[in-house]
Symmetry: C2
């Protein structure tokens, strides 16, 4: 099947969506966003051998993850995802089978969050699988929640638990889109981020943008069952702080609101935990009452 | 320099743009598009060894091309490009130098067409260079010009000339954004496409979407100087019909309008040429008064 035939096939099976005025098959997709609101745009590229291992994960889960990481970025802003475009570089061998399974994973995740796939670009090459998704969304409530806006005295609250995502969650996580929108309606979120690089690293990013510091409370960090199962030299807490790809949310709000939220637990199926407090500067962790500096553990791509 | 440091560096040198409310450094870019109009979205991925040869082209021209192919897609709709996001997979070796030169090429082209780069995703891996750009734009005039809308009796008109783009134009072309917007204001464009796969192939795409056919006039096809310099078994005309990556426009309009445009030549610096006529069905070429079937020569990615 040629690429053109593949795009034709994709188009025929793309159901009509009132938000997609012109979809796959033309030069450019034409989409309708909500009037009078700014547009959220996020993009993430996943590369075989770096962001996933195709042979282990299988193409369907890779497609799912490629959409889900973008959904998580929109969630970090408490946005509502709307329309995606997808570009892929397919290995020539078994490219068609791969494309169909990728597509199934992408659509499964898109459908779950009411996202229309409006178009894309399909290439085949002699390299490994590459997939890049760009997702457009709309702000909700009082507008996008940014990384900046946390203030000394705010408490930091998380959804879910952390660590050991390599055992499965990094592929099978549920992006916290609904949770973010719900929280944005319930309280004033001063700042928010999704945890992709690692809890310590992403708290560091949030603080850097907010020009403040934070103290994390070691005994309160919600450690995932997977982190407890990890073998090796690092403690479960170190996994929770450094592993990354949890795709949970961390947000800053007033102490009073953080206490109210953790007592009332208003988000169905997801536990909210207060894990620390914003301070003037530095990144710290207290354990057994002793405060020590916390390096921003987590994933950093090094360029040479 | 770590990736985070690189993103920080990118952000610092991104000038303030009133259309980018939140830019590189947050989870998602927040952009402002024109109110009450649909949004154009296009994406293209370029892969080293398939869409370009990095060693020959150099990273700056690759960056330029990655932005320019998307601009050409927006031009095909007679749209106005507004905001781009860029994701890259950088080889680990010399990744930083590569990133800086790519960035220079991307910005050169973005600046030339008043496009704001609002964000992106930077990865390093053990594979070849991959770059994917997603470009958002706005319709102009009476709205987006589609591939569908050509009618039997319409004439087909091109900008510029065709063939031999591999000798340089495939990297150094100027996307026909201004020309498309100007033409859209001057006449009623029934259908339009940019020539990326090849003149014959892209006329075929336009006809397929418009549910009509076309006859091309061999003697009228504007053959580029580069096509005349190509060595090998194929004639210059065959290069013009089949080479692809000319990134010129082909549009359908009434015979009267086509004649008026080719006589008045209203587009500064770019020659408009009537190259054929839409018919009920089939793709044909007449040469020395003889009509023969024209296969949709051009670039097709084969999936196995």
């Amino acid at each position: 099947m040629s690429e053109l035939a593949f795009i034709e096939w994709l188009r025929r099976r793309t159901p009509a969506d009132p938000r997609v005025l012109v979809g796959p098959g033309d030069d450019t997709a034409v989409v309708r966003l909500v009037k009078d609101r700014p547009c959220l745009v996020t993009t993430d590229m996943l590369l075989d051998g770096s962001c996933f291992e195709l042979a282990q994960a299988g193409p369907r889960r890779v497609g799912r993850k490629a959409m889900a990481v973008n959904l998580s970025d929109i969630a970090a802003m408490a946005g509502q995802p709307v329309v995606a475009v997808v570009s892929v570089g397919l290995p020539r061998h078994h490219g068609l089978d791969l494309a169909q399974q990728l597509d199934a994973g992408l659509r499964e995740m898109a459908d779950a969050f009411n996202v229309a796939i409006a178009g894309g670009d399909t290439n085949s090459w002699n390299g490994p699988l590459v997939i890049s998704v760009t997702l457009l969304g709309e702000p909700t409530g009082r507008g996008p929640v940014l990384r900046r806006g946390a203030r000394p005295g705010d408490w930091l609250v998380t959804t879910g638990s952390f660590g050991g995502s390599i055992l499965g969650k990094h592929l099978d996580f549920t992006p916290r889109v609904r949770e973010a929108v719900l929280l944005h309606g319930l309280t004033e979120l001063h700042a928010m981020i999704d945890v992709s690089d690692g809890l310590a690293a992403d708290v560091h990013h949030l603080c850097a943008e907010s020009q403040c510091g934070a103290v994390l409370w070691a005994e309160r960090i919600p450690i995932s069952p997977a982190a407890l199962q990890m073998k090796g030299d690092r403690s479960a807490l170190e996994h929770a702080l450094g592993d990354g790809e949890d795709f949970e949310l961390v947000f800053a709000t007033t102490q009073a609101e953080a206490q109210r939220l953790t007592v009332t637990q208003p988000v169905p199926g997801v536990v909210l935990t207060a894990i620390g407090e914003c301070v003037e500067s530095g990144l710290w962790i207290t354990e057994y009452g002793i405060r020590r500096a916390l390096p921003p553990l987590g994933y950093v791509h090094e360029l040479q």
